[in-house]
């Protein structure tokens, strides 16, 4: 009549429905926090969304579950255990806080009553960040990696060069061998020597002392002999690290964030651009062991800046896009040799450019940058009202037209117009989804 059931293999996430309702309920608050966290987040310092989710704290208002319960005060009697010295009639002061409840316990999770902290999974975070876009399995994406020759550790050997001697292993073997073969310790030898010396110093020795001396000497000889035979370190103990040469896939990537910071780029435009850069960086940190990020801003001239300046400093001037591309090329030549680095370019602009500079941009891109880049993405941030531009890919200014030509020629170049966060994602989806092989 009794039986056991193994439930461990049951589908997981039974409470997923509850979780979704919870996120739905708190959506407004969560969205606000996520948006704020993006603004506060530094892309460069590796502060993008952590692998195991993002902890966020939202106001508990709206998440309270009110009940009718007794407040403090009134006339109560508490029965407590552990009386030590009290007798009837003793009085004690009320605990601080004066609630008469015997001092309320600090809230368990170290947060106030007014706030609720929990962890959003990475996918939930991204979903909220990019307005409910469905995310494909990011792991499936095909990042490209360059190859170089390097060395890899390949265990231990008994022969090698002294600089590869593995001390820890060697000493461990030595210790094991010494214990196994019962090599007398230096300490025991010293003690015996001291005893012998003490006895020898005596002028007149009794026969029993003579016997003892002879016995000790014999013992000492034995110890000395054994210590000679069983060496402290024996060639048997030696272990060396070995390395084998290997083709390694380059796991370093650098992202160039290029942005137009002329007066027409306002808070909204920069916020969108930041999400765009953040997402690219996010994709890459999953794919590469090490990623670096370079910020290049430009007006009518380009300069490399830190993240803070990049997003928040104000700058005025004209707009010459090609300066940024040249700057990028310059930095690549200086610091990021393409055979060691996977290079990604991301450019955000409002689409304006000076005179016929756009043609120049196209040339730099196709001739110099795209051949060394794994991927180059361009987003043009347009007015929310500019539906005409969003719908029609063919319409657009000089820069857009020239970039369209580039796109026609090069496969790993993507461009997109965006006016809200939801538009940003498709660029990545197109590029990173596993390509159907023809």
């Amino acid at each position: 009549m009794h039986h056991f059931i193994d439930r461990r293999a049951n589908p997981k996430g039974k409470s997923l429905g509850n979780r979704q309702r919870f996120l739905r309920r708190a959506r407004e608050n969560i969205k606000e926090r996520v948006d704020r966290s993006v603004r506060e987040k530094s892309i460069g310092k590796g502060e993008s969304v952590p692998e195991n989710g993002e902890k966020i704290t939202i106001p508990a208002k709206g998440l309270k579950e009110p009940r009718l319960y007794h407040g403090p005060g009134g006339n109560r009697r508490h029965v407590l255990p552990g009386n030590k010295e009290f007798v009837v009639g003793d009085t004690i002061d009320r605990p601080q806080g004066g609630t008469g409840q015997g001092g309320r316990k600090a809230s368990e999770d170290g947060e106030g009553d007014d706030e609720f902290s929990f962890t959003l999974t990475r996918d939930e975070y991204l979903e909220i960040l990019f307005d409910g876009l469905e995310l494909p399995d990011l792991v499936e994406k095909a990042t490209v990696e360059t190859e170089t020759i390097g060395t890899r550790r390949a265990g231990l050997t008994t022969a090698g060069t002294p600089n590869n001697l593995n001390l820890v292993r060697t000493m461990r073997n030595s210790l094991g061998r010494r214990i196994a073969l019962q090599r007398p310790s230096t300490k025991s030898q010293r003690e015996l020597e001291a005893q012998v010396a003490e006895l020898e110093e005596l002028d007149a020795r009794s026969p029993s002392q003579e016997d003892l001396l002879a016995e000790l000497k014999l013992k000492l000889d034995g110890i000395r002999r054994k210590r000679r035979v069983v060496g402290y370190i024996d060639p048997l103990d030696l272990r060396y690290d070995t390395f084998v040469p290997e083709k390694i896939r380059n796991s370093r990537a650098v992202v160039f964030c290029l942005m137009d910071v002329s007066g027409s780029m306002q808070e909204r435009e920069k916020d969108l651009a930041k999400r765009f850069f953040l997402l690219l960086h996010l994709f890459l940190t999953r794919g590469y062991e090490h990623t670096e990020i370079v910020f290049v801003r430009h007006t009518h001239y380009a300069q490399e800046v830190d993240e803070e300046t990049f997003f928040y400093a104000r700058e005025t001037g004209g707009t010459i896009v090609s300066t940024a591309l040249e700057k990028m090329k310059e930095i690549i030549d200086e610091r990021y040799p393409p055979d060691e680095w996977n290079i990604y370019g991301a450019q955000a602009s409002d689409g304006e450019n000076f005179g016929n500079d756009s043609v120049r941009c196209r040339k730099i891109l196709t001739e110099q940058l795209l051949p060394v880049c794994q991927f180059y993405a361009y987003v043009e941030i347009v007015e929310e009202a500019a539906q005409m531009l969003l719908d029609n890919n063919e319409a657009g200014e000089d820069l857009w037209q020239n970039y369209r030509q580039v796109k026609g020629e090069v496969a790993h170049f993507e461009m997109q117009r965006v006016s809200e966060p939801g538009h940003i994602y498709p660029i990545f989806r197109e590029f990173f989804l596993p390509k159907v092989k023809g």
Partner: protein, 505 residues
């Protein structure tokens, strides 16, 4: 009864459990539980679950099937965070009052812990659920699984039909009134599943019969239809009689009499109050239930050890865990967070056995009925069947135990500048301390006493609630105001809460 065979081979020696070992251990435990202790249990369904599933179960108040609500998701998020950061461990087991009796055992438990957990939950709690009068009278162990399945499906169907927001609004309001959704004194009628379905179908059919132009009036409310015509102006007392007033079960009252709720919303209120009622006995028997289960596992594992069926190592491991569970920190210990029901319950059960087996003169004076009773097993079984925490403590807490726990009463009168030690564990104090402690477990005393006192459906339709204040203890304001908002939503018209003060305790 089996005589001790110290030469028997142990059931298991290593820490790893397998299903064969679990079965062997369960059979050995069952033999002692049924033949020696004389327990009477539902068939057991023991389920092995993972830590994540345990967290799932936590968030859904331990039930195997539960309708979806955001608050469960919130609890899950909190429990998970606490668990992952190591600030909160997980229970070794969860047991459900159902027939068959379902208990969840964690897969991480060692074989020794599984043995302990089986003795504790599958036999200790199980016996208590099956035999205690509160559970027998107020819960339906045979039907709970079906009812939960029904509730889950029903609420899912409502979400589908009326949208998440509409359902959430009703559930939020109903949850806020959960504690006011139980019958404390009068026994509710107990419809079967079939009856419930029929009733629900009736309501649905009625709803479909309504044309879109019909507005809900009190005439359309089922209960009022038959008695409506002749009495245009019922007088106050007659009205109260018709509506069963005063009514302590606010959810029940709203379900039957709210002028604005639709049938499906009434059904949701009903689901919430049925579950509240199902859990009500557990709230009233924490000390006894845990005391019973802890006593049973303690007795059984010691018997197993005496019979040579578990090794000394396993016994030590079990005792280590047992000791942690029954630890009672003193009031000035930083770990103190109230009286530990495991500690008090276990100590009282052991004490009853002691009074039967080895009574002192004091015991004979205090417990003339049981002191020296040769059959302590039946004394305990009788206690487990016929008491709840409050009456159990009032009846069985001995001076011996009060001394052991060094109990004292602290009087906290708001009007008095300081706290006063009013009783300590001496001859003069035993009776008062015992009464005070029993009162601490009396839900009627702990929970605010709020009743529906009047609702004039033909007049201004204000719902009048009365809070009977005892000992000058008022309701917490933030909770009160929020709950009243929910109440207004369910009632549709104004709701007032007045206060009546009693002088007696």
């Amino acid at each position: 009864m089996q005589t001790a065979k110290s030469t028997a081979t142990p059931l298991f020696t290593g820490p790893e459990w397998t299903f064969e070992l679990l079965e062997k251990a369960r059979d050995a435990i069952e033999k002692i539980a049924l033949e020696d202790l004389g327990l009477d249990v539902y068939p057991n369904q023991i389920e092995i679950i993972s830590a994540e599933q345990m967290l799932d179960a936590y968030s859904c108040v331990g039930l195997p099937l539960m309708y979806h609500h955001w608050s469960f998701g919130k609890h899950f998020a909190r429990d998970e965070a606490l668990y992952r950061t190591g600030r909160q461990g997980l229970a070794y087991e969860i047991v459900i009052n159902s027939n068959p009796c379902i208990s969840y055992n964690m897969e991480e438990n060692t074989m020794a812990m599984q043995t302990l957990v089986m003795a504790h939950a599958a036999f200790g709690h199980n016996h208590f659920f099956k035999n205690n009068y509160l559970f027998q009278q107020w819960t339906d162990a045979d039907g709970i699984q079906d009812y939960l399945a029904f509730a889950k499906n029903y609420i899912a169907a409502c979400e589908e039909r009326y949208g998440y927001d509409a359902v959430e609004e009703i559930l939020d309001a109903a949850h806020a009134l959960q504690s006011q959704g139980v019958f404390r004194y009068g026994r509710p009628p107990k419809p079967t599943i079939e009856e419930r379905r029929a009733m629900q179908q009736l309501r649905e059919a009625y709803e479909k019969g309504q044309s879109a132009l019909d507005i809900w009036t009190d005439v359309t409310l089922g209960l009022k239809r038959d008695m409506d015509a002749p009495d245009e102006d019922l007088d106050h007392s007659e009205r109260r009689k018709r509506m069963n007033l005063p009514q302590e079960n606010i959810l029940y009252f709203l379900e039957k009499h709210s002028p604005v709720l639709e049938p499906w919303q009434r059904e949701i209120l009903r689901i919430v109050r049925m579950l509240a009622q199902y859990f009500y006995p557990q709230k009233q028997t924490k000390v006894m239930n845990e005391g019973c289960a802890t006593f049973v596992h303690y007795y059984i594992v010691n018997k197993l050890y005496d019979q040579g069926l578990i090794t000394q190592g396993a016994l030590m491991e079990i005792m280590h865990s047992h000791t942690n569970v029954v630890m009672q920190p003193e009031y000035d210990d930083p770990r103190y967070s109230g009286i530990n029901p495991y500690a008090l319950g276990f100590a009282m059960m052991q004490d009853i056995r002691r009074i039967c087996e080895d009574p002192t003169d004091e015991d004979r004076e205090w417990f003339p009925d049981i002191a020296g009773d040769p059959d302590w097993r039946s004394v305990l079984r009788n206690a487990w069947s016929n008491y709840r925490d409050e009456s159990f403590i009032q009846q069985f807490l001995s001076p011996h135990l009060m001394r052991k726990f060094k109990l004292f009463t602290l009087t906290d009168d708001e009007t008095h500048p300081q706290l006063v030690i009013s009783q300590i564990h001496n001859r003069a104090g035993y009776k008062t301390i015992r009464r005070d402690l029993a009162k601490q477990y009396d839900l009627a005393y702990i929970e605010p006493d709020i009743q529906v006192s009047d609702a004039d459906l033909k007049g201004d339709r204000t719902l009048k609630l009365t809070h009977t204040v005892r000992e000058n203890i008022q309701l917490a304001e933030d909770g009160r105001d929020e709950v009243l908002k929910h109440l207004r939503r369910l009632w549709g018209y104004d709701v007032t809460l007045s206060t009546v003060t009693t002088t007696s305790g």
